[in-house]
Symmetry: C2
Subunit: 381 residues, 2 copies
């Protein structure tokens, strides 16, 4: 399985004309030992694919770690360019920015589609549960190799924020500040949405118990999973504004006598509404860039993240934090509602941590941290 | 395909001890002519399965029509028993209550699993688009046969409310009052949710283009569709209160080393959270009681409902209404948000119709009109 290094074609497209910074270096880091995972299994000498922007200064005090979300890549300059705009959050002149692909992701790190060095076989659906904390431990080894001891900032949205917080908890002496956007432990609704997506993939006729052929992946299932995800990343208000009850812009008529959709196997299911055409398009784009087993692996990483799991109290979990934390909730986010992010921030503050909370007003839903980067930067300034 | 006359096992279970009224009569009405549908096709001599409760009085002024929702049945006494409680909304002594199974539903009316009298073949996926208005026209013929000219009240929640409003629009001289609960034309988010459910069914390996064998229906797809529906019928707050991030109550461990789920075809997908166990259970219950092609047919009926479609203005659509309308929004409904129901009611009021709007405060989401019947009755009194 080839390493994909194309920029993430996520919905977080930057405004036209935005300058996309090029990485100083992009490559692989291989741990020279096995990574013992929280679940009890090991990943043999795992690879972390990463990109860096700018240069580490002599004082080694300008390092920033950006953590990507579910289907992002190490190329943060491509999916979060406005963060690098002049006067924004990061500076290629001032900062040494590192972004590391999640274990399990199909964008270059050790993943279900890779060969397990311990067995010589492709992991496939037997790829183990890799926790956020496992990722953070591996990332720390990569930073060691780069000569980075201390991070002036670690930041990310969604699963990226999960990593940022775990950095502050588990490497308290290495993090000065953490910026955590649009995230709290997944709620029952969030766990439900992931459960639906998992089934969508595993019901695909080409799923083959996860041992699908590379040339015949479970495309329809992965497309449906992405579409389920998409509605949770957007607000109802945004969908209403963009699509309302309009018929599909390609001319299909939902009230039509009959339309056979070949791809769906036939039946008089009628012309689509515009929102359906949009979702199908998003699903189609996604199956061209992502792998089903990778998607399942990272969803499980996301599901199981709860920093308090295994600790006796929130005090015990969070009181070790030394970094200053900033949380950002998004007003229209229904996957990680702003009130949950605020409550989570309050829990951590109650453990004696320096925490502030800000709210991003946007009708874009969870996606706002990618879709409204200019607004995000304004809030951070 | 046998006619199923079991009471609907929908989530609208009544409180323990609630008396379930028995119908005075339950049976089939067959139109003695073809029903010309809005889509241009015809249903040859369609059957309407129905139930009645109480008796028509001599003045023939005590008839009430109850319209059921997506997967309901004609047995309104079974799924809405609190409406019949002493002093509640309906009275078996005072009222003659009629409930008619939707065309397309697998609970007795003409449906995809039935034989088309015009061809001698099972409709299957070629069952035509039957609009809400088509249903209402057929229902009017059934009421004619019962000697019911005028309805003192027509009421329903969700798709039931769509029918109630279409009654008031298209049979203005036959309706005295209409009670419309938790409904407005589906928003983009609602259309999206139905589009996801449709795909879930049509991606099932046993879908067979809709020509699945009765003994081998697309079970997993229908289960997933129901689960997608379920999350839209419940509020996030309710799911959080009930399930939170608890592991599945059967003892599965989401952090476990490995669990193979046989039904899903294998893979290390881990133990489930409680919300996932609940959704799987709901899906399983549903596939034992509902038909996939019926589900698709009624979703399309729902999608395409917009009383203003084909009219030049809301004034033209609604000014013909003579009935007094009452709309009820549900505070935590995110499928048909209360603010949309209120705005819809305002649009109709602006056309000169007598309209009132009330809001039901509940954390049950869209399902509240079934799940919190006692609260609903209190609001209506």
């Amino acid at each position: 399985m080839k390493t994909m290094t194309e920029p993430s074609k996520s919905s977080g497209a930057s405004p036209p004309g935005t300058k996309v910074p090029a990485p100083t270096y992009e490559g692989d880091f291989v741990l020279n030992e096995n990574l013992l995972l929280d679940c009890g299994r090991t990943l043999a000498t795992p690879t972390l694919h990463y990109a860096v922007y700018g240069r580490l200064n002599a004082a080694r005090d300008n390092a920033v770690l950006v953590c990507h979300a579910l289907t992002g890549s190490a190329l943060v300059g491509s999916w979060w360019p406005e963060i690098f705009a002049p006067g924004a959050v990061l500076s290629l002149e001032r900062d040494f920015v590192i972004c590391i692909n999640l274990l399990g992701s199909c964008y270059g790190s050790t993943r279900p589609g890779a060969v397990d060095p311990a067995t010589g076989e492709v992991y496939g659906p037997d790829f183990p549960l890799v926790s956020i904390q496992d990722n953070v431990r591996a990332q720390a080894r990569l930073l060691d190799s780069l000569g980075v001891r201390r991070l002036r900032l670690v930041l990310g949205g969604s699963i990226g924020g999960m990593q940022a917080l775990d950095w502050a908890i588990h490497f308290a002496d290495r993090v000065q500040r953490a910026l955590i956007i649009g995230v709290a432990p997944l709620s029952a609704m969030g766990l439900a949405l992931n459960h639906l997506q998992r089934q969508a993939i595993q019901h695909d006729p080409d799923w083959a118990g996860g041992h699908y052929l590379p040339q015949r992946p479970p495309r329809r299932g992965l497309s449906l999973a992405r579409q389920i995800g998409m509605i949770s990343y957007k607000s109802a208000a945004l969908l209403e504004e963009r699509f309302s009850r309009n018929p599909n812009r390609n001319g299909e008529d939902p009230w039509a006598l009959e339309v056979r959709e070949g791809a769906a196997g036939g039946g008089l299911i009628g012309g689509r509404f515009d929102i359906a055409g949009y979702l199908d398009h998003q699903g189609q784009r996604f199956i061209d860039r992502f792998d089903a087993n990778s998607y399942l692996a990272i969803m499980r990483t996301m599901d199981t993240w709860d920093p308090q799991h295994g600790f006796s109290s929130s005090q015990e979990t969070f009181s070790r934090i030394r970094a200053k934390l900033s949380f950002i909730g998004i007003s229209s986010d229904w996957l990680f509602p702003a009130e949950s992010v605020r409550a989570f921030a309050e829990t951590i503050r109650a453990a004696g941590v320096q925490v502030d909370y800000r709210e991003m007003t946007s009708d874009h839903g969870h996606d706002a941290f990618l879709a409204e980067q200019v607004e995000l930067v304004r809030l951070l300034q």
